[in-house]
Symmetry: C2
Subunit: 436 residues, 2 copies
């Protein structure tokens, strides 16, 4: 059970009697993404009390969120209640609440209406997309981070086709059938590929007035190649596969403006589009502010090689919220496997501290890097070897099913993928939300 | 293809040349619920042009919507894109648009930004819940009609448990663990049974501070029995089964007030609750206003035994929007089978008019009436015979799977039901929405 400041004070004062057991170290984990959840689970047999705080009630399998946004999967297929995952872990308590601040001196997390005391703190509050100071773009170019983001993007994509079918204005129709994805990282590539497949393969027979196969999907990347964390040869393979599907890839162009008409590029080009999606730029959560710790320019807390912010070896910052140079001297990428490794490392370090042992610095193990593009199209980088096309796509599918949490989710995702493959269909083509 | 006023004028003026084929009768269907969709499908081989207009892009299997609201099913499992259902029906066009009004004299439906001319019109725009003039109650006691309603109710139910787990105020905790369902019709009964099962069987192990098995679920019905359209003996059976699950059934009590503290009954009793759900009172769509036709007190258009409003045998009003006394002299109930039968009747009457034949009056065939209460608990009324308990529950499950649209939906609903049965689980326990 969680020991609040109040209860903790009574325990310390001994008011509850002599039979009160010795309080166990309290580990508080902020955020139940890949990092926080792997930390919580790896403490399942440890003699500590674990409290997981998240402002959502579910753990989200982020790598498949773009499939919710493009009508392939339902939210529940890639999300699982945090408290259900930890249901049988008797030393774990889950609180759905919002973190307001952290009282580092008093070792206490301040949540809405309640203070939670800790002996060890793991901060795993992730990151969100950013518009590089142009927050007005958010209304015209939504980003993809939560389930609500995904269902809103799904509604925006599907509504564009519906409005194109209704309108009698050819210019508006053209704008409605032009989709722009900003950012050539994995999410941008996956979104662009999925939209062009949705338009040209899935829904093309369903409309009477528009020719959905004429849909334009434009991927805009400011750098000189897409998937910049992959080897250059694989970036080229990915671009070839995207273009084969019908995506127009624009490289070396930054977005200079974004409004209800579409996007303006740095060179003055205007692209008319009623559906611009934002997959560029990531900003860490407010953890650095909460901790009063130094941050890099994307807001990530600069931690040492034990994942501690300066002067606090009882605090660990992990996952997308941390800027880490690992024991090999390389920066750790903001990917799910790295967050999970950091989560497990933090719990090992905590148990070492409790036992009075020292812990070796964190070392990231890179097992490879995957990105999917579309049906039978993907790239996979395993350091010494790489794959492209059908083989990479099979690896991608297998890996994502493998890492999904829960038997039911694996089964239903597999079923929907199998049906989608056979029928060229997408099962979740629903426009829902407050504007219904 | 749909013939708009503009196109229709050019066809009539002969400006497109001598090879223009004779225009086919234009049947416009408003609403793609059970009634509208069955009308559209039964015209699949008829020599007419069909246009289906709905402000949503999906057909919803309403009878299972309460399972979305209580975290058992995902929206996509009970909803299907209208244009996908009609994809291969070449004489059918689907337009997602909002009806503003109907120009009965000009035989034209006015939608947002576009007028759609018709030769025959089928109005199947359904009904919504009503608060009997107390619209301020809507914020405190949401009703269940759309997918957005269902996911909002799901968030409200699940959030109550989450907030109860966080709070340290015992009075607030008690209010959060008290659920009130207003209305003892099928939806109210199903919601109450599902909430008590969710609390006492599914989530009870997942919390550390609250005892979810102490959750109170109170069903309030103004009349003297629940399920008033069933025989009295079955109402009693249903009540027994609800109470065995743990629902408190309050009969003969109308709600006199509803605010953020809970509900006030007519006799002055106050029930503190943070989650009141509204399943009482139905109001038809605005069709009577659009048509300038007489309506009953719930807004339903009074139609003749051919389903026409007075003086317009080219217009058919069907489903929950119509007040019908059928050929046997009995009022037709507002249920899915009746809507489907009316949809098929309207299309037969249209084809008869085109062929110059007369049509026998509409006659409702009642194949029975089912309501589910919980696991292995249901009632079924087949007129001469009835079932209760396990047998009724099996019939209910089979019937609902049978009538679901689409192979994929049948398969995934069956899977989730089977897993839920074996594990006492609910697969979709997600709190999503704009407040995330």
């Amino acid at each position: 059970m969680v020991v609040t400041l109040h209860e903790s004070a009574s325990v310390r004062a001994g008011t509850t009697g002599a039979h009160q057991p010795e309080p166990r170290p309290r580990v508080v984990i902020l955020g139940a993404g890949f990092g926080g959840l792997s930390a919580a689970i790896s403490l399942r047999r440890a003699p500590v009390d674990v409290t997981v705080i998240d402002r959502r009630n579910y753990h989200l399998f982020q790598p498949l969120l773009y499939q919710v946004a493009t009508a392939g999967l339902s939210p529940a297929q890639i999300a699982m209640p945090i408290r259900r995952i930890l249901s049988r872990q008797s030393n774990a308590t889950v609180l759905m609440n919002r973190v307001e601040s952290i009282d580092v001196a008093a070792r206490c997390v301040v949540t809405t209406g309640r203070r939670i005391a800790y002996d060890y703190l793991i901060v795993a509050t992730g990151a969100r997309h950013t518009y590089f100071g142009n927050d007005a773009w958010a209304d015209h170019a939504p980003g993809l981070k939560t389930i609500a983001d995904a269902t809103a993007i799904r509604a925006r994509i599907l509504s564009a086709f519906e409005r194109a079918e209704v309108t009698e204005d050819p210019q508006l129709r053209e704008r409605l059938l032009t989709f722009v994805v900003v950012g050539g990282g994995p999410t941008g590539v996956e979104l662009a590929g999925a939209i062009v497949e949705l338009a040209r393969k899935t829904i093309v027979r369903d409309f009477r007035h528009i020719d959905a196969s004429s849909t334009r999907v434009i991927l805009i990347e400011a750098g000189e190649r897409i998937l910049p964390t992959m080897p250059p040869a694989l970036s080229g393979k990915a671009r070839d596969q995207l273009e084969a599907l019908g995506v127009e890839v624009v490289l070396g162009s930054a977005v200079a403006g974004c409004d209800q008409r579409g996007v303006q590029l740095g060179d003055g080009t205007e692209i008319g589009s009623a559906c611009v999606l934002w997959a560029a730029g990531v900003m860490a959560s407010r953890a650095a502010k909460w901790l009063g710790a130094p941050a890099d320019r994307t807001g990530r807390v600069k931690v040492n090689e034990h994942l501690n912010p300066p002067g606090h070896d009882e605090i660990f910052v992990i996952g997308d919220t941390a800027a880490v140079i690992d024991a090999t001297g390389r920066p750790v990428p903001g990917v799910a496997p790295a967050a999970k490794q950091m989560g497990r490392y933090a719990t090992r370090a905590i148990l070492d501290q409790i036992a009075g042992r020292s812990t070796a610095p964190f070392r990231y193990r890179d097992y490879g890097n995957l990105a999917t593009i579309g049906r039978k199209a993907a790239v996979a980088d395993f350091g010494k070897a790489w794959l492209s096309g059908y083989a990479a796509w099979l690896v991608w599918n297998f890996a994502h099913l493998w890492f999904l949490v829960g038997f039911r989710n694996r089964l239903v995702v597999f079923l929907d993928w199998a049906l989608a493959y056979v029928r060229n269909d997408r099962a979740v083509r629903l426009i829902t939300g407050q504007n219904e």
